[in-house]
């Protein structure tokens, strides 16, 4: 249990306070262009009440929606090396990180928490697209490994919500090495006989898709999420063809056998709860 005392310092969500949604703001749906009252949109889990379009969700909202009564314990994730390459493009990587931290109030592109989902114990890792497009660097890899360890320790299933633009280029090959590292995390959960459920949200691409995001015992996606390895623009440039309608969207992947189900946000908690309940270790009948 030693790593728990070092890594896991519980932060009670309630202390942070609920996010205040200004009730006088309007948002336009990017799909049907209808105007929506911000408070209504938030009440509707960031799903357009007119057309059902699933907009992006902040990690904090995602955790609220997933755990029973919005109650959970966040764990502090192990620190990873900061800017191991000394990377600089037009801007320093360290400055980009600083900006992102200030803007999102997050340390990195992953948040891990534990609690219950319809009464079942679960560890949930949520990728934060709002943090550098949910890109995968060493911190994300460490976080997924920590989430897997916590699941094994608590003998709880692991649920991961993915959202990623792919590799964190600024970490070079250290970013690529998160593919085997997160795969090992999945193997640890698998070896412990615990369910591993992936929920893919818009968008999930690149190295994240090609590692832990596609290795779930059960694969779920939110409606119309972009899911793929290569991004649509890269494909278009390579094959010099217009991509078919709905290409690389959740429904397309389900048709092609890559997903078990496409689940609307409002049904997510209940669906996860049922899966965990059905897959959870059944009490073994006594042989005697």
């Amino acid at each position: 249990m030693s790593w728990l005392t070092t890594y896991v310092r519980p932060k009670i969500r309630n202390l942070l306070g609920k996010r205040d949604v200004p009730d006088n703001l309007w948002t336009q749906c990017e799909s049907c262009s209808q105007m929506i009252f911000a408070a209504d949109l938030h009440k509707n889990l960031n799903v357009c009440p007119h057309c059902g379009h699933h907009m992006r969700a902040l990690v904090t909202d995602r955790l609220d929606w997933t755990f029973d009564a919005g109650s959970y314990t966040r764990i502090e994730l192990p620190k990873a090396p900061v800017d191991p390459l000394g990377f600089r493009d037009q801007k320093r990587y360290t400055d980009r990180l600083k900006d992102q931290r200030a803007k999102t109030h997050l340390d990195e592109s992953l948040v891990v928490a534990h609690g219950t989902i319809t009464g079942h114990k679960a560890v949930v890792a949520v990728m934060a697209y709002e943090f550098l497009a949910g890109t995968m660097g060493a911190a994300l890899g460490e976080g997924i490994v920590a989430a897997a360890r916590l699941a094994v320790l608590q003998h709880a299933p692991l649920v991961v919500f993915t959202a990623s633009g792919g590799a964190r280029m600024q970490e070079g090959m250290i970013s690529l090495m998160q593919m085997p590292r997160t795969t090992i995390a999945v193997q640890m959960v698998r070896d412990a006989g615990l369910p591993y459920v992936v929920v893919m949200t818009n968008p999930t691409t690149g190295g994240v898709t090609a590692s832990f995001a596609m290795l779930g015992d059960i694969q779920i996606a939110e409606p119309n999420a972009l899911i793929g390895f290569a991004g649509p623009r890269v494909i278009e440039q390579t094959v010099r063809e217009t991509l078919p309608d709905g290409f690389q969207r959740s429904e397309f992947l389900q048709e092609h056998g890559m997903l078990d189900m496409v689940v609307a946000r409002k049904d997510m908690r209940e669906t996860l709860g049922r899966i965990i309940g059905l897959l959870g270790r059944q009490p073994v009948a006594d042989a005697a």
Partner: protein, 328 residues
């Protein structure tokens, strides 16, 4: 015909001169020597002097290749490719084909054979070396079928206790409509998963270009070797330049920033050993490059073969978990 890279121009000029002199001193077909004996000795001296100069130039150039120059060397058309390594190092080689589900992807080659008398499974990405073979192997860009073939081979190796040698040389996984529709991401993920779970040793060698996810799919091994002038990167410098600099002309800067050389990756402890290349790069003397790889594999294999499957897997996991971790 030797193909020269831009930065090899001074060497190219010297070697052209040498070739001209050689032609001059050689007797024409069926005729007598155009020059006298003394003249021929003089030409011989001149050739030796120029050769020495060319070698010196080559040594100086290759001792301080920039990352971008290494990118070009790693992609050199005359560099030995996966099948060259397999044909030279593996005896009794029997290619195996197909993913048992959809097709046989020629971008991934592999089969069974012997290395140093020991039965092994080999797998690699092959780019091809002329127009026909490049098209046949899709320039080394695999589709899901390719990675699923690799999974098959890795599992076959596991069942029969055969060590796996992999040779990685790919610009990346193929970004195509068909590849995505058939689950490119899933296929790569399964391949990484299979490599990490394998109960037998996996020795991966990046022989040319280690292109991102398409490379790690076959390179999650117990030992990862890299040729001296090979590159291994999370993204091509060209793509990185267009995304981060919003300008396709910054590939040189991107190549530097990405730290994609064997020397950098050894420094970060992401690869285990660097395989020395012959003077002027593997493309100048493919046989020597292949020999050097063979020697390293020969040294590394026996001790790994003695580990039992659970110890091997545990060691492999620890190796990857330690990568890029704080304080390691």
């Amino acid at each position: 015909m030797r193909q020269f890279l831009d930065f090899e121009k001074p060497v190219a000029e010297l070697e052209t001169k040498i070739d001209e002199l050689r032609l001059l001193s050689a007797p024409p077909e069926g005729g007598a020597r155009p020059a006298g004996e003394a003249n021929s000795v003089q030409i011989g001296d001149e050739i030796a002097k120029l050769q020495e100069k060319a070698d010196k130039q080559l040594r100086a150039t290759y001792a301080k290749l920039t990352p971008w120059q290494k990118v070009q060397v790693a992609r050199h058309a005359q560099r030995p490719h996966a099948l060259d390594y397999i044909r030279t190092l593996i005896t009794d080689y029997m290619p195996l084909a197909g993913d048992r589900s959809f097709a046989n992807d020629e971008a991934v080659v592999g089969g069974i054979g012997r290395f140093e008398g020991r039965s092994v499974v080999v797998v690699g990405t092959e780019r091809g070396s002329d127009l026909d073979t490049r098209l046949k192997h899709n320039f080394g860009m695999a589709r899901p079928e390719g990675y699923r073939k690799a999974v098959r081979l890795v599992e076959l190796a596991g069942r029969f206790g055969l060590p796996i040698l992999s040779f990685v040389d790919t610009p990346g996984a193929f970004p195509g409509i068909d590849a995505e529709a058939r689950g490119q991401a899933e296929a790569i993920a399964r391949s990484i998963d299979a490599c990490l779970a394998a109960p037998v040793p996996i020795l991966a060698t990046v022989i040319g270009e280690g292109g991102s996810g398409g490379a790690i799919a076959l390179a999650a091994g117990d030992r990862v070797f890299m040729l001296e002038h090979a590159i291994y990167s999370v993204i091509t410098p060209e793509a990185c330049s267009s995304i981060l600099w919003r300008d396709t002309s910054q590939a040189t800067a991107a190549a530097e920033a990405l730290r994609l050389t064997a020397q950098d990756l050894k420094h970060f402890r992401l690869v285990d050993e660097i395989v020395p290349e012959p003077l002027g790069g593997a493309h100048r003397d493919p046989a020597a490059a292949i020999r050097n790889v063979g020697q390293l594999l020969r040294q590394a294999l026996p001790s790994l073969c003695q580990l039992d499957p659970s110890a091997l897997r545990a060691q492999r996991r620890e190796k990857y978990l330690a990568m890029g971790r704080l304080g390691s």
